[in-house]
Each structure stands twice: as structure tokens, then as C-alpha cells.
Symmetry: none
Subunit: 76 residues, 2 copies
């Protein structure tokens, strides 16, 4: 879930949470992230918020996304 009281935007909180899972090895290279719909439900946010978070991860080079397939942890 996301911290409603934090001044940090939800999409940044979510991006940070996912980045942590990637850096800790919980999500490994080439492995898929949960789908947008799954992340929506797990974190209790709207799809647009999930997409903003994933966009950040993409901009940081942590993940790559393919239409119709999903988003995957980048190779290092």
C-alpha cells in the first residue's frame, strides 16, 4: 500500500518500492513486473498512477516495457 500521509506523490512512492525490489534482487533481470492491473490492486491506486511509476523506472533504465506483453527488469 501507499502512505496517504506522506508528502511524496503516490507514483513516486510506488516507483521507489519497485526499485527497491529490483535492487534487492527480489525482482531479477528479465523477470516480469506484476501487471498494471495487479499493481493497482496491490497498492490501492489508479492505473494512471501505476503507469506514472513505471514510466519513472523506465526513465531510470531499470525496466523495459513491451505492448501486450508487460514490463521486465532490465539486463545489467
Amino acid at each position: 500500500m501507499v502512505d496517504e500521509m506522506s508528502p511524496v506523490p503516490f507514483y513516486v512512492q510506488l516507483a521507489d518500492a519497485l526499485a527497491k525490489q529490483i535492487e534487492s534482487g527480489k525482482l531479477k533481470p528479465r523477470q516480469p513486473l506484476p501487471s498494471e492491473s495487479t499493481l493497482q490492486q496491490e497498492y490501492g491506486v489508479a492505473r494512471g498512477t501505476v503507469r506514472s511509476a513505471v514510466r519513472l523506472l523506465r526513465e531510470r533504465g531499470l525496466v523495459v516495457t513491451f505492448t501486450g506483453r508487460g514490463t521486465f527488469v532490465s539486463d545489467k
Copy 2:
């Protein structure tokens, strides 16, 4: 782009620019306007500003808007 120094609000400048393209025939009846997101980037303004501009055009009967599809130049 929009003129930061002008006393005219951004959304009015943008509406005028689009109206000009419609009246000049550069944007023809039934043709779609650029999306809100495209106009944001092209003119360097926020989405709310784009929406205010398009609202003006709608009030003038120059365009019609459909959810999930876009905004189109009105038939005359």
C-alpha cells in the same frame, strides 16, 4: 509555443492559435486536433491549460470532443 511576456493568458493564446489553423483550413472539418498531451508538449503548457483552450473552441462551436477518441473540427 506561448508568449510568456504577453498579458494574454496562455489558454487564450492557444485557443487563438488553434482557431487560426481551423479558419485557415490547415485543420479541416472532421479532422482531429492534436491530443491534449501532444498540445501540452508542443506549446509547453500544462494539461489544464490545454483543456481551457479547447473548452473555448467548443464554446465557439469550432470543435466537438468525444471521450477516449479526441477533439475534432466541427462540420460547417
